[in-house]
Symmetry: C2
């Protein structure tokens, strides 16, 4: 049982890590969901709440709220792994490491060309077929410091070949790291 974060640029394939974690009985907490929940409470847009939360409580409030939620879940006796989605800055990583022993970051890597091809073909609501918008979205994540988070990961998986071998690598990682 571990608490860990997933990192990786858009289109790298983080989603499958969460899916397999859920199958194994782990809990997946998205930092984005924490903002969305708060936005609903406040009757604001997610973007407004993200900005307001930081204005009111500092830059790391979302990580702090997530840590608080995890501590409550642990207090209630949850004893499987907890996966945190949406960690983008090295300061957030530090906060999680301070609060949870053995907190680790797994990053998923795929080269930009491949990530763009994937995003073009999956066309989720927030996806784009425009290369410039793809680059801007990467840049937004990189501005938060995700490049540092990825480079200092405890574990990296490259997701550039077929889905089967990627899934196998994730499952091996889960076994090895006791997730």
């Amino acid at each position: 049982m571990k608490i860990m974060g997933i990192s990786g640029l858009p289109g790298s394939g983080k989603g499958l890590v969460s899916e397999i974690a859920l199958q194994k009985g782990a809990m997946v907490i998205s930092m984005g969901d924490i903002i969305r929940k708060e936005a609903k409470k406040r009757g604001e847009s997610t973007k407004e709440t993200a900005q307001n939360l930081r204005k009111e409580h500092g830059q790391y409030i979302v990580a702090e709220l997530t840590i608080k939620e995890i501590k409550e879940i642990l207090k209630e006796g949850f004893d499987k792994s907890i996966i945190v989605e949406g960690i983008r800055s090295p300061f957030e990583v530090d906060l999680f490491k301070e609060n949870f022993d053995n907190f680790i970051i797994l990053s998923v890597f795929a080269n930009p060309k491949l990530r763009f091809e994937r995003i073009k073909s999956r066309q989720r609501e927030d996806d784009t077929t425009d290369y410039e918008i793809f680059v801007e979205r990467d840049q937004r994540e990189l501005d938060f410091g995700i490049g540092v988070v990825i480079s200092l990961s405890d574990k990296m998986i490259i997701n550039e070949s077929d889905l089967e071998s990627y899934e196998k690598e994730i499952r091996e990682f889960f076994e090895e790291y006791d997730i």
Copy 2:
């Protein structure tokens, strides 16, 4: 025949990439050597020259000098691959991509724990057995933007298992990318 850059944090294992490239007849150009050469000419320390060059000619002068040197080498008819060591910022990568078609970045990744163990055991002149100094050195590279360079690499090799399989991966990469 290609022109490419190598990236990776200290202790990740970039050196073997250059070694194998040399064996294959490629040329290895170190941005650090370009500064050292200029420092010798000026009779200054490398650190002084690095600072002075940037003061006199802007932040990307070392990349610009390297690009100039590569262009001269190509003009002289060199027709094997050229490997550039020491690229640390995404702006430098952009400069190389603007000047050379098909310029690619290969990054080598190893987790921080493993990199520190390696650095402790190899004890090169600039290496350290002190974890805080290791972290500071990482941070200096990350401040230049190496995390962005690594995260946006065209190719990533993970160097966390044995030397033989790492060497095999490098050779496969060289074949696949026509280095």
